[in-house]
């Protein structure tokens, strides 16, 4: 695929496949400062809005990667083309992850502007939590071929973080708020594994 075609691929996908989900992600980002304070927070408190609400932008952006082709007839058409469907998904994951990073990065910068004590860690930690929720939704939606199930499992895990707290061990999403960062590496690792498994699932599945 040449560069011009790749850009066109991006713009068509953005317009027809990604836009509503991007809007949902942005609405979540807008809802965050309404529910939580984001001004003049210390380092630990600043983690709260990022981990406890903004992380759901991951679910919004990554769960629907397979959604456009949930219609089997469309999937057949796409798969009959030379470009491997797996590559289509990988490209979508890449730009969704970039958008996710931009949203979280933008939010963290806004917090910094609002005199909250945020560092790169807040960005990285928030991104890891969001990516984890998103990858989980993506993997489940991919395996079950059912996007609502993906959203459901991702949201249940999110709720479990309020109910179970750090009993979730290394996969605790709100660890920065509880004063620990090491979980973020595990979340990142688990995300990469789930994303890989999700991508491979479209290869393995017999259609």
């Amino acid at each position: 695929m040449d560069t011009r075609s790749a850009l066109k691929f991006l713009s068509i996908n953005l317009k027809h496949n990604l836009l509503p989900h991007l809007i949902v992600a942005l609405l979540i980002a807008l809802l965050t400062p309404i529910i939580f304070t984001i001004t003049s927070l210390d380092e630990r408190l600043a983690a709260q809005p990022i981990e406890m609400l903004l992380s759901l932008t991951g679910t919004a952006l990554l769960t629907p990667i397979f959604l456009p082709e949930q219609n089997e007839n469309i999937r057949d058409i796409i798969r009959s083309k030379r470009t491997d469907y797996m590559n289509v998904c990988i490209m979508r994951i890449i730009y969704s992850v970039i958008l996710l990073a931009l949203i979280i990065g933008g939010f963290v910068m806004m917090m910094s502007f609002c005199e909250s004590n945020v560092t790169f860690r807040h960005f990285a930690g928030g991104f890891a939590s969001a990516l984890f929720l998103g990858s989980m939704g993506f993997l489940v939606a991919g395996i079950s071929r059912n996007a609502p199930v993906g959203y459901m499992v991702s949201l249940i895990y999110y709720i479990a973080n309020f109910a179970m707290k750090d009993k979730l061990g290394n996969l605790f999403l709100f660890s920065m708020y509880a004063g620990s960062f090491k979980e973020k590496y595990w979340l990142l690792l688990a995300s990469v594994i789930m994303l890989t498994a999700g991508v491979l699932s479209c290869k393995i599945k017999k259609s």
Binding site: P20, S40, L41, P148, A178
Partner: protein, 416 residues
């Protein structure tokens, strides 16, 4: 007949399975986990009977002052101005005003406050139950001036509340409950215990706790089951066929809804049954009301299920998209956070998720009882109206008059 067909279709769906597991897990990790020790009859001469909120200036004034000084030093005040948790930080001008109040009530001058560089914020640690606990913080010594009257103190607290923006711990509604906790006397404890035994018949108190926990998940998860059910028709390409069948839209949609609600109640009934055995087993020598948990569940939890399921069905029929998940998600989120300031008896006229996270507080609950009844009936009626609307839309689609509002995140049909 139709009921059983629909029933089978839903029972073996993946979303229902996940819903089932999640509800059961919620029960065991929360309610079941909380029921470790029975409540015993208080005996005279015990060291402590727990705390109760009673307006006592000698306790209230130092406690509120300490809290306010703490808030000033960390520049962080907790408030719920519109029901939402808000962590408030003050501008320099407001800080100045707050310092004046603090000086008047604590005798600490603004210079001393600002020079108190040694201040370390408490920080948090996680206790063995997984709760986040605040460490004791290190604040300047407080000497409340003798000349300060209680009336003046309350007036200053109202001012402080205004500066914070309202809804803070220092407001008239909250200050007693937050800062004037006193030890219960033996009589207090005994009265409470007798209410627990005779009015709540034991299980009543547990039923409220049960419903509190279960209500959280039941206000959101049914929407997923409803959405995937509504899209099932499309997926198996039954839509065209279903449209041309003779059965009336009203009958079809209401049967489907009724089936869905009954099905969604299965794990609730199971957990209620387990809870009943568990609680009755904890009090082998008392006669408990064996129906209380079921009565509470029916009135408290069914409206939650009905609402979430109705939103799922209506929005999916209307937009053929996954929008319902987002709408219910936001509503649920706001409802949960709006009630975060008071987990006992937090039942407004319109709150979707009613909270009462305590075995105590029957009085608080009964004070809000009329609101509670109104609230639950309101949601039941709203749900039925929503389903009637769904049937209407379905009928229009059948006639080919209306094809649904178009949103881009369509659920596509799927070959079975």
């Amino acid at each position: 007949m139709l009921f059983f067909k629909e029933y089978k279709k839903m029972l073996f769906s993946l979303t229902f399975l996940i819903y089932f597991i999640a509800v059961i897990a919620m029960y065991f990790t929360q309610f079941h986990n909380d029921c470790k020790e029975a409540i015993y009859e208080p005996l005279p001469g015990q060291e402590s009977y727990g705390m109760i909120a009673k307006e006592t200036p000698d306790i209230l004034m130092p406690a509120a002052t300490e809290s306010l000084v703490n808030g000033y030093l960390s520049d962080s005040y907790t408030a719920y101005p519109i029901g939402f948790y808000k962590n408030v930080h003050l501008s320099e001008k407001k800080k100045q005003k707050m310092a004046e109040i603090i000086t008047e009530i604590s005798g600490i001058s603004k210079e001393d406050l600002d020079n108190f560089t040694n201040y370390e914020e408490g920080g948090f640690y996680i206790d063995e139950n997984g709760g986040m606990m605040q460490l004791e913080s290190n604040i300047p010594e407080i000497n409340i001036p003798k000349a300060l009257t209680y009336e003046r103190f309350r007036e200053l607290m109202r001012k402080a509340d205004d500066i914070i923006g309202g809804g803070s711990e220092y407001s008239d509604e909250n200050i007693v409950g937050n800062f004037s906790l006193v030890q219960k006397t033996y009589e207090d404890a005994l009265t409470e215990y007798n209410k627990f035994l005779n009015e709540d018949k034991i299980t009543g108190a547990y039923a409220r706790l049960f419903c509190d926990y279960m209500g959280i998940v039941l206000a959101i998860l049914p929407v997923f089951v409803a959405v995937s059910l509504a899209s099932l028709d499309k997926k198996s390409r039954m839509e065209q066929l279903a449209y041309s069948r003779k059965i009336s839209s009203v009958k079809l949609i209401f049967t489907r809804y009724f089936t869905l609600v009954v099905l969604l109640l299965i794990p609730v009934a199971i957990t209620a049954l387990i809870a009943n055995f568990k609680v009755c087993g904890m009090y082998p020598n008392n006669s408990a009301d064996i129906f209380a948990i079921f009565k509470y569940s029916a009135s408290w939890l069914i409206p939650n299920i009905m609402t979430a399921a109705a939103v799922g069905m209506l929005m999916t029929e209307l937009t053929s998209s996954l929008l319902a998940i987002f709408v219910q998600g936001v509503w649920w989120f706001i409802s949960i956070f709006a009630s975060a300031n008071g987990l006992t008896g937090s039942i407004g006229k319109f709150t979707l998720v009613a909270r009462h996270n305590s075995l105590y507080g029957l009085d608080t609950f009964m004070n809000n009882f009329n609101d509670f009844v109104f609230n639950r009936i309101f949601y039941t009626v709203i749900s039925i109206i929503a389903i009637a609307l769904t049937a209407f839309i379905y009928e229009q689609k059948r006639k080919g008059i209306f094809n649904g509002y178009s949103f881009r995140f369509k659920i596509s049909k799927h070959k079975s």
